[in-house]
Symmetry: C2
Subunit: 167 residues, 2 copies
């Protein structure tokens, strides 16, 4: 199940995030302002701007999968400044997620997962997925959405959730 | 695993949400304004205000558990107007979540889960949990956080994630 919760759903959510950015570009064009105004917007002076929210969403998704599987993730240096570069970053992470297979998650629930700032401490894979990775991915994608909503971009809950496979 | 992802984690996140509201109350008191200003704030004119974000977060968590287990959830009429009433609503849902046991989730992944607006269509329990329930809970809790951040309440990522069971 961890594969579905992380790889499959993160890729879907990154696709939704990409759509938010496309709508932001359309809005900027219709209102005749430079979309970089939106990319540099934030909801509080000590909050990361939209560019950084997208970068962290991408990293949270990437590391969510790689750490659960004990793999080394590719490094992305956070140099994006344009909307096209952010879209490319999202695509790069989606392509990386597509390299994972359900088998890669064998033993992932019990794996000791750490990250540099935890100074040698760890969570089990299950704890990491549920209490750290998932909340982080959703936090940054929702914050990106909120920054755009706050600036008038026409987004709604359907854009956030994406298509439901209703039967 | 669905029990951990929904019941356990939703209860933790609702506890974090309750803490945001407590910090909002402290902030209002320190700045000498009525906290109801915050409760009625929003990030866009056509977005739900903070009260409604909390109510929907509570309902998303409640229905996430009840629908996965094929149980009837208690009804909450969304009449809260004060911070104390919102805190009580959160507590009610945490108490409800505490009535669930891991055994209640037997067969939940394959269960057909629907809701009124889907007009008879359904998702499997696994799809509902991953693609609908989780994103909704995180969306509304993050949006509540963002509304408060946007109004100057001193919240950070640690408040959002809560304690990590590091070992």
């Amino acid at each position: 199940m961890l594969y579905d919760i992380t790889v499959t759903q993160y890729s879907k959510m990154l696709g939704n995030l990409s759509q938010f950015l496309s709508k932001a570009a359309e809005y900027a064009e219709s209102k005749k302002f430079n979309v970089e105004v939106l990319l540099n917007s934030r909801l509080a002076p000590d909050q990361f701007n939209l560019i950084r929210q997208v970068q962290i969403a991408c990293d949270s998704a990437k590391f969510g999968a790689s750490r659960l599987c004990g793999k080394e993730a590719p490094s992305h240096p956070d140099t994006e400044t344009t909307l096209a570069e952010l879209q490319a970053r999202i695509k790069t992470v989606q392509d990386y997620l597509a390299t994972f297979k359900p088998e890669d998650f064998e033993g992932a629930e019990e794996r000791h997962v750490s990250q540099p700032r935890w100074e040698g401490k760890y969570l089990t894979g299950l704890e990491f997925a549920i209490q750290h990775s998932l909340p982080n991915v959703y936090f940054h994608i929702t914050t990106a959405y909120s920054i755009l909503r706050n600036n008038g971009v026409d987004l709604g809950k359907k854009d956030f959730l994406g298509n439901m496979p209703l039967k």
